[in-house]
Structure formats: C-alpha cells, structure tokens
C-alpha cells in the first residue's frame, strides 16, 4: 500500500472486457467521444496550428503548451486531489535546469564549460554536480525524476503530518521562494538571476533554424497529448476515484484503512513529474530557464490557468492554461499600459463567479452524465467545504 508506483501508461489501451456492463465506467459513447476528441486535438495541434500560425506564433504556442503540461499535473493534484500546490514552479524549474544544463554542456562541447561560468564564477573546471548532466542518459531522465524525487521527499514529510489546505499552499509557496533565492545565490554555477540562456542546440539540431523550432513544437504537442491520455487513464482508474475520495474526506478514507498520505503523494509526484517534463521542453522552445520562471508569481500563474479552465476536468486545465497565456500575450500587445487590469479582472471574475472554470460553461451547456463531476450548482460538495474550513483536526 505504501509503495508508490504510478499508473503504468500501457494500461491506457487495455481492451474492455466483454459483457458485464458496469454502470459507471465510460461506455461506448464516451469512448467514441474520447477517441474523437483526441483525433480532433491531434489534428488541431499537428495540422491546423502549423499551417495557420507564423513561426513566431507557433513558437509561442509551444511555450503555452508547456505551461499546459504543468496545468494538467496541477489538475490532478489540486482538482482531483485537493492539494493546492503553489510551488509547481520548483518542479518546472528542476526539469528546465536539468535540460538546460545538458544543452549548455552540449553546446560547449566535450570538456568545455558554459560561458557564464568563466565570466561570473571564474571556475577553472566544471563543478562536480554539473558533470553527470553532460550525458543525455542522465540528464533526460533527470528532468522528470529529479522533480519527482523532490516532490516525493517533501510530500512524504508533509502529507504524513497532515499538513494541508492553506498550510500546504503557503508552504509550497515558501518552497518556491526558497528555491529562487538559492539559485540566485549560486551565480557562478547557476547563472544567478540571468538563469541559463543562449541555448543554441538541441541534441545536435540548431535551435535557430525555424524547421527545428517546428520540430520542438511537434515534440511538445505530442508529449502533451500523451500526458492527457495518461491523465485520463489515471482519473478513470480506481486510484482516480480514491483520490477524489481523499480530497473530499481524507479522514474518512483513513478510517477505511487507506493511508491517504500515500494516495496524495502519488498525485503530487505525478504532477511534479509533469511539471518537470514541461520545464525540460520549455528550454528548447524558449531558449531560457531562469529563476524568474520558478518563483511565487509564475507558480501562482500556473494555478490560475487551471482555475480559469476548470480544475477538476481533464481538458479544463489545458484550455485554461493556454487561454490565460494567450490572453496575457494578446492583451499585453494590444493594451501595453492597462493589460494587468484585464488580466486581474479575468482571474477575479472566473474564479469568483465561475468556480468550475470555463469547462463548466461547456458542461452546463450540455448536461453530462453522472461520471463527470463539477456540473451542479454550488459545485463544491459539503464534505469538501468542511474539509477546507476545518483546518484543525485533533491531532
């Protein structure tokens, strides 16, 4: 029970057993919808977007999709698991730095050192902890495993001690702040506030070349779709049901003989892995990773996207993240002086008056069956309300 094994993705395509139609799991029609949805999404991302968007806009979309990956993870941890994590920037950053370190080393060539180290660090040789990242066999898995390991460490401490609700939110926020300070303080080896910039190549491909930028976009789009498939499986698995149960009644689940800490831990670790992957892909897409992407503000912005889209749905976080990022770009281009008002207003209106997010508009428009969730008025179940209000259970 305490072992942590995330859902193996291969089960995503396991055939349904004949006969015994269970009342709840998605039926034929829903499967049809899913397949159609995926096909539509793939067509949109792989065919339409590259055709209609300029190189510059496509690169922006690639950036948005990275943010969307983080959002998918937050959707699991927060929407499904009730853990409002305001520190996803940390995991995004860990993934991004791991990737950027590798790419910087690859740019520098064998035995070379990243330019900034000589400039700011006056180092004669590569610091020890940089060295493993020269190997793609270390760096690539590290982009995902490193954030997951950190999440595992922190999560197993925090969840077991039942730190939750606002406590957890603020603690994760403090984590983001601490990470930023730590990175900036180590300027000679991390690039300080500048971060790691000027990344030229991606596994031998020149990132200045628009064709290669397009390739990076396709990789990102493909990864996002894969993550969505994985998430869909997770949500509909028994674990997914259990996670919702933990969100709505952690103590009750404990009395059923589960250890809610492990249940939450899995969701948190998965979300961290997704954020790490997103950070790793962000680096070739944008060419920079810096503390500015990790701190409190970007971490909240990740969450805002999820809230705007619809936290507990599968697609809500993706659409919300893309919509918020797009709105940010579009508004700031159109109204450079006043866009912050509009952005703030968007958050306020959506979160306060449309708690199910934009996805709930869709759901309201076409009443969906029982399996899907945040449709009803009031949206938050009584049990959840209690869980959030009553932050102080007898220890």
């Amino acid at each position: 029970m305490t072992a942590v094994t995330p859902a193996p993705p291969s089960t995503a395509v396991a055939p349904a057993p004949a006969g015994a139609a269970p009342p709840n799991p998605p039926g034929r029609r829903s499967r049809l919808r899913t397949a159609a949805g995926f096909a539509f999404g793939a067509a949109l991302l792989f065919a339409v977007a590259p055709l209609v968007l300029s190189d510059f806009r496509l690169a922006l979309l690639a950036k948005y999709l990275c943010v969307a990956m983080v959002a998918v993870g937050i959707g699991i941890a927060w929407g499904r698991g009730g853990m409002l994590t305001l520190g996803q920037g940390v995991f995004f950053g860990l993934g991004g730095y791991a990737m950027a370190m590798h790419l910087k080393l690859a740019d520098a060539g064998p035995g070379g050192m990243p330019d900034f180290m000589q400039l700011y660090g006056q180092l004669d040789e590569l610091p020890l902890w940089w060295r493993p990242f020269a190997s793609p066999w270390f760096a690539l898995p590290a982009t995902v495993l490193l954030p997951m390991a950190v999440a595992f460490g922190l999560g197993s401490l925090v969840f077991r001690r039942r730190v939750r609700g606002a406590y957890f939110a603020i603690l994760s926020q403090a984590l983001a702040a601490a990470m930023v300070i730590l990175l900036i303080g180590q300027q000679g080896t991390t690039g300080g506030t500048n971060g790691l910039t000027d990344i030229k190549g991606f596994f031998g491909y020149d990132l200045d070349d628009p064709v290669n930028q397009r390739m990076v976009y396709f990789i990102i789009a493909g990864t996002l779709l894969a993550l969505l498939a994985l998430t869909r499986q997770l949500i509909h698995s028994r674990y997914g049901e259990l996670l919702v149960a933990v969100r709505d009644g952690e103590e009750r689940v404990r009395f059923l003989g589960y250890d809610p800490a492990s249940v939450k831990l899995v969701a948190y670790v998965v979300a961290a892995g997704m954020a790490g992957l997103a950070g790793a892909l962000f680096v070739p897409a944008v060419g920079i990773i810096s503390p500015a992407l990790i701190g409190i503000v970007p971490s909240i912005e990740f969450v805002i996207g999820v809230a705007v889209g619809g936290r507990a749905t599968l697609l809500g976080p993706v659409l919300g993240a893309v919509a918020v990022a797009w709105a940010r770009t579009a508004l700031s281009e159109r109204f450079p002086g006043t866009w912050t008002y509009l952005q703030g207003l968007l958050f306020v209106v959506v979160v306060a008056f449309l708690p199910g997010g934009l996805a709930s508009l869709w759901a309201l428009a076409r009443r969906r069956d029982v399996g899907a969730r945040p449709v009803r008025r009031g949206w938050l179940p009584a049990a959840r309300r209690r869980a959030e209000r009553t932050e102080v259970p007898a220890a």
């Binding site: 409002l84 606002a166 406590y167 601490a178 008002y341 959030e388 009553t390 220890a395």
Partner: protein, 295 residues
Amino acid sequence: MTVLFGQLFTGISIGAVLLLIALGLALTFGQMNVINMAHGEFIMAGAYTTYVLQQSITGAGLSLVVALPVAFVVAGAMGVLLEVLLIRRLYARPLDTLLVTWGVSLMLQQLARDVFGSPNVQTRAPELLTGNVALPGGLTIANNRLFILALALAAVAALTLALRLTPLGRRIRAVVQNRDLAAVSGIATSRVDRTTFFLGSGLAGVAGVALTLLGPIGPTMGTNLIIDAFLVVVVGGIGQLKGSVMVAFALGVLQATGEYLTTLSVAKVIVFVAIVAFLQWRPQGLFTLRTRSLA
C-alpha cells in the same frame, strides 16, 4: 558583544515588522480562513496614505500621527469593499479566496502605478525618528525601530483587549468558534465578518504607515511582504494571536542570527527550512484551538 546585542535588537525589530504586517492576517486568515493575497496591497494603501497626507500636512511628525488612524480607515474601507464585493461569496471555498484576491492585488498594483506613477515615492520622517538612542558600550538603537516595536505591541494589546472585552470582540470570537450557533444566537454573522475584515485590513494600513519609516513606498511593496506575513500566521497557529506574536519575534531573531552568521540569502533559506521542519513537528502551528472535527 556590541554587535551581538545590536543583532539581537535587529532580530527583535525584524520580528516587530513581521508582527505588524501579520497581525491583520491573523484576523482575516486566522479567524476567518480567508487567504487574502491583497493584504500586501492594503499595506501599500497605508503607505500611500501617509504620502498623500504629507502633501497637505507639512509637519512630518504631525502627518505621521494623523496618518495612522486615516490609513487604518482607508485600508479598512478597502477591505470592507473587497469583502462585500467578492469574499462574501467565497467563504465556502477558502482556497479560492487566494486566487481571487491575487487577481485583486494585481489590479491594485496597477492602480497605484497609474495614480502615483511607477517610481517609488518618498515621505519625510520626523527628525526624531531618524535618530537613535545611544546605549553604553557604543550600542545604538534606532528610534524608528523602537517606534515600530512599540506600535506593534500596542496594536497587539489593543486587539487582544478588543477581542476579550468588547461586545464586538465577543461576537467575533463566537462567529469564529461556531458560525452556525452564533447565527442562531442572533448574531448577524455577515456584519461580524465585515467588521473583522475591516479590522484586519485596517491593521494592514497601520503597518503601511510604519513601513514608510523603513522601506520603499511603491506599487510593488506589498508583494515583498505577503509571504512572510502568511508564514508567521501559519506557523503561529490559526485563530491565535499569541502564536503569531511569538513566531514573529522568533523568526525575526532566527533571521537576524542567520544573516549575521551567513548571508541574507542563506538566512532566508534557513528560515524557510526551519518553518518546514517546524510544521513537521506541529502541523497545525504553535498554538491550535483543539477541536474535534472530522476531515
């Protein structure tokens, strides 16, 4: 030795600032469960109030004295407006208050930028508060720090007395402890909520006035303070003023010690790590209202 005493006082004065900025949150977050990210902008409003008053009241000392109550009312009114317009709808989902008020804080910052300009503005401090008290052994204690310490302690005392002794305070405590029971006992809970929010936000305004003696007055001043303030309340324990008071000073001294022995950056990290470790030990903070409740 002088330096050590100096550091101890620095720690205490950092604690006093933390306490002052956290005190309002101890009410709104601690008592009402509202995570108000715009609290920092209420502090900013207090600071700008001082600035505006100095445009017409030329005496620095007088303007400061006038600014304290005015800022309390200004920030308190902003808080009430926020409560009535938004937060009232969100009592059932405290975590969402965080996101909504964050949006509000963005807008308030931009508003400050448009009204007062992007650069920081200056206020004059009374000459008395820019000097220091010399103690034997070469030790000096800055007057503005003493003033803030006194102000923080006075605010705590006033708030404690108000909560303990006044009918309003009793009502606030009743609503905190059992909203439904308070409601059926004839307490207008929504009015109590509004009053509590007024007090909490008003205290932010007072903190803003005090901070003009120490730091910058600008559109982003609030964002730098808000996390520290929340940490104080979280570690202190929700619903307890004494927790916040003790934790503010403890964190202040810890930070000052860390700063002295290492660097400012490392000290900040040390404080964060200490907080995580502390919450491992006491997940509900230093002091908790023990209640039996499920989930």
